[in-house]
Subunit: 181 residues, 3 copies
């Protein structure tokens, strides 16, 4: 089963994915890393920073090739984003063309109350760049839900909402695991 | 006119549809029933339970064939779902491929306040399996709105929100009937 | 860069677009006007009212041809709607087929608190036809967010939310301008 996993920065997506990957003995595949490996092997980029400097059509080809590679895997927990917050607006992590290549069975939205996410980011020095207001975290999560619903309608995948509350990691992993039966 | 009608369990979708079908002299077509008749005629299933045991690609072909049959009807009120709540997450009732076969002119969302839906389910013994919390009904309706908006953008259909409040069935039918002019 | 700009009536979309067009020296293209010019040149319509009387398939062809013309422009700020409120429901301003012809880089959502929009409409006699309740303005904006997220996933465009608060036009223009770098 190919499962796309998404969530705003600070929601605890990595911890939830690791719990599920261990329980299900499934590999975690980072979509951005597959893209970078792809570009590196093709001699297009030596570092992650080089990726952003590639012409848009080359970036799109790298993105599609990564989608094809992941779509060829029978089972994977795919670490990516519904919408990435940028100055240009919310950037779709998996646009329609790539979504059809990955052909996921499930799209998971890891969520938490915006106030909790804000608190987690404040405690995490590496998240300082994501230090948004509670209202903007709420907006980001609402837009992610809409994008995930569109991804479901487009691909036929189910959309699973997994709350990851403070102190509730085990419960989040349990809820996520409901999709494997 | 082909009108897709959706709403969470307990929202009163059937009563609203029946009122509209009578006023407009239009047939109500249940999407799941058309799928089952399709599978039965092809010797694939003897009961509705058999349907879920069919291989995924056979299910998809049955789903598409049902979509083709409904798309060939000039006028129909199509009883289905935006998103069906399952353990694997919200399952799209009409994914993009089928949506293009049905080519609806309108997608209707029958809605009610989550607290009222919760109350209606509590009074209806047959709905015990849908006995969700008010918060989860709210989430389901929000996700349905997002899925319906995506269905509109994909197909070009309009998306009509029809509130069906306690004691307000006539008003709901009146609002729904606004689409026929 | 082709930027689709959307917002409910009374949100101040025109003022924001004019500020941005001046700062960026970009043309504002009204999608409905391009459609009308198209129909007029083809001898299909003499006035805007004639447009609505055209057969649906002719309207669709005019819509597509307008999309092709706008998609051929290197740079444009495109004045249109995510969802237009009609008696038949929310009508997608740029359905998927046209979206792929325009191939925008950004979809902008100009938003304001529903109460402020209600107040602006009340002061503007030409908006009397859009005199909705605060709750229905809130619903319209929520549906627009969902439609915009779907447009992003379908096209790969970013979705930029630009708040245009009472007395905050300059700040709205500044936020919009962040997409040009």
């Amino acid at each position: 089963m190919r499962v796309i996993v998404t969530g705003v920065p600070g929601v605890g997506k990595s911890s939830v994915m690791e719990g599920v990957a261990k329980a299900q003995r499934l590999p975690i595949v980072n979509y951005g890393s597959v893209m970078f490996e792809q570009a590196k092997a093709a001699g297009l980029a030596a570092s992650r920073d080089d990726m952003r400097k590639l012409p848009a059509d080359v970036q799109r080809e790298v993105q599609a090739e990564a989608g094809r590679r992941i779509g060829a895997m029978a089972d994977a927990i795919i670490d990516t984003h519904c919408l990435i917050k940028t100055a240009e607006g919310y950037l779709p992590g998996i646009p329609m063309g790539v979504l059809s290549l990955i052909a996921p069975q499930v799209v998971v939205l890891v969520e938490a109350p915006p106030g909790e996410i804000h608190g987690r980011r404040a405690k995490d020095a590496s998240r300082s760049r994501d230090d948004d207001s509670v209202a903007s975290i709420e907006e980001h999560q609402q837009m992610n839900r809409a994008a995930a619903a569109a991804m479901g309608v487009i691909s036929g995948a189910t959309v699973k909402v997994v709350p990851n509350l403070d102190g509730g990691l085990e419960e989040a992993v349990r809820r996520f695991n409901e999709i494997f039966r």
